[in-house]
């Protein structure tokens, strides 16, 4: 009887807490959003399951030297392997042609970093440290791997909250951006038609990958792992002689890295870590960051129009928020709502992919200054 009693005591049923149950509910909410609403399912499905696993009592997935801890500790926190590998896959899927055809749109990727610094100050106001504030602010860059990369270096204890906030808001771009866009732009501005883009040669695209790597990595060496892998993936795509490598980077490799990254991130969200007021602050600040990044991009586009002969449609400014390709699609949808023959998608994609570079640069500069 003693043995039976002892065995029962060692089951999870006897150690369950209200925190565990609440976190299971949280994981089911994210699973619902992923499956039913198609909110970033490639990330939210494994994240939600990681949350579920981490909150089963006595399983200790994240205890030192246990299964998920090994991936989390070595592949994310200590050696930072997974975000650059994912970025390589993203680079292999990205076409920088619109950026090269109209380099002015690169500046819109810078303006969309405005929200990063607004949220940074907001986080300081809420009492977060400089490192925590930087990792919360980068949510405004709307780039999951960059957010995870920076947070794992500066504030690994916020990894779960930051990553979930970043991916949730990236999925909600079609809800967050349109009201801000309509508030800050007039119908005449939204109806501006832009000239058709010129063709970009293969050599220009290859050159872009090399030049961008050199410029960004020399300015912000902290961004080198991300930026270097991003452009390596892009080089695989654009050089035309490494198709197998490009295919692997944008398929098997990114998928494997995503599975382990997302499960580990979910597994960091135990009840003790997540159920704190600071998690709510992070979600609020994430929304602030996204909103102000949209504002920054729109306002810079309008400002540029004061000096440009060939006006740019300010809608592409909001596409500087690097939720690729969702924010570019939002720009296109809103443009066509006012003028159904206005096609700005490729121009918006230029700003969109420039935003990825801008976010990597922001993260690199934060690392230079805070690490």
């Amino acid at each position: 009887m003693d043995v039976l009693f002892e065995m029962i005591q060692k089951t999870g049923f006897m150690q369950i807490t209200w925190g565990n149950v609440l976190m299971w509910a949280v994981s089911m909410v994210f699973l619902f959003l992923a499956v039913q609403k198609d909110y970033e399912p490639l990330l939210l499905v494994p994240i939600s399951f990681g949350i579920l696993l981490a909150n089963i009592p006595l399983t200790e997935f994240m205890k030192e030297n246990n299964f998920l801890w090994v991936f989390y500790h070595f592949a994310i926190v200590k050696w930072d392997l997974l975000p650059p590998i994912i970025f390589m896959g993203v680079g292999a899927m990205t076409d920088f042609g619109p950026c090269v055809a109209n380099p002015k749109t690169i500046l819109l990727g810078a303006a969309a970093q405005f929200g990063v610094y607004v949220a940074f100050f907001g986080a300081l106001l809420f009492g977060f440290t400089l490192q925590e504030a930087a990792s919360i602010g980068i949510i405004g860059g709307a780039d999951g791997p960059t957010c995870i990369f920076l947070t794992s270096k500066l504030a690994p204890h916020l990894l779960g909250s930051n990553a979930v906030a970043a991916y949730s808001y990236m999925a909600m771009v079609p809800i967050i951006q349109p009201p801000i866009i309509r508030l800050l732009t007039s119908k005449e501005e939204r109806m501006i038609r832009m000239k058709q883009m010129r063709k970009v040669s293969k050599l220009e695209k290859i050159g872009f990958a090399v030049v961008a790597t050199l410029v960004v990595c020399m300015l912000a060496p902290g961004a080198a792992p991300l930026m270097g892998m991003f452009m390596l993936g892009n080089l695989f795509r654009e050089c035309g002689v490494a198709t197998r490598l490009s295919n692997t980077a944008q398929n098997e490799l990114i998928n494997i890295a995503t599975i382990f990254l997302a499960v580990c991130i979910g597994a960091t969200m135990s009840a003790e870590v997540f159920l704190k007021p600071q998690s709510l602050f992070i979600f609020v600040l994430g929304l602030v960051a996204f909103s102000f990044s949209t504002v920054g991009g729109l306002l810079l586009a309008k400002f540029m129009n004061l000096f440009l002969k060939d006006k740019i449609n300010p809608l592409i400014g909001s596409a500087g928020v690097s939720a690729v390709p969702m924010s570019a699609r939002v720009s296109q949808i809103i443009a066509r709502a006012d003028d159904k023959h206005n096609y700005i998608l490729m121009h918006a994609m230029g700003a969109n992919v420039a935003g990825v570079i801008g976010t990597a640069l922001s993260a690199g500069l934060f690392l230079n200054m805070l690490k």
């Binding site: 810078a110 610094y117 050599l203």
Partner: protein, 61 residues
């Protein structure tokens, strides 16, 4: 005001001062970096187009 409160206020002020410096350097660094990238890409693209254009073919719009 006791010394403990005073030093806490001073450290908060130092933190905010550093925050402003970070934000200023960070945002201007991003703009500077992307402006530099735009200039480099513009120059490189022009060079490539001159090389690829050759003496006969016209550039298509």
């Amino acid at each position: 005001m006791d010394k403990g409160t005073q030093s806490k206020e001073v450290s908060v002020l130092i933190e905010w001062e550093k925050g402003f410096q970070l934000a200023f350097v960070g945002l201007s660094g991003v703009f500077a970096g992307l402006i530099l990238l735009e200039i480099c890409i513009n120059l490189f693209s022009r060079l490539v187009r001159i090389i690829e254009r050759g003496p006969i073919s016209k550039e298509k719009p």
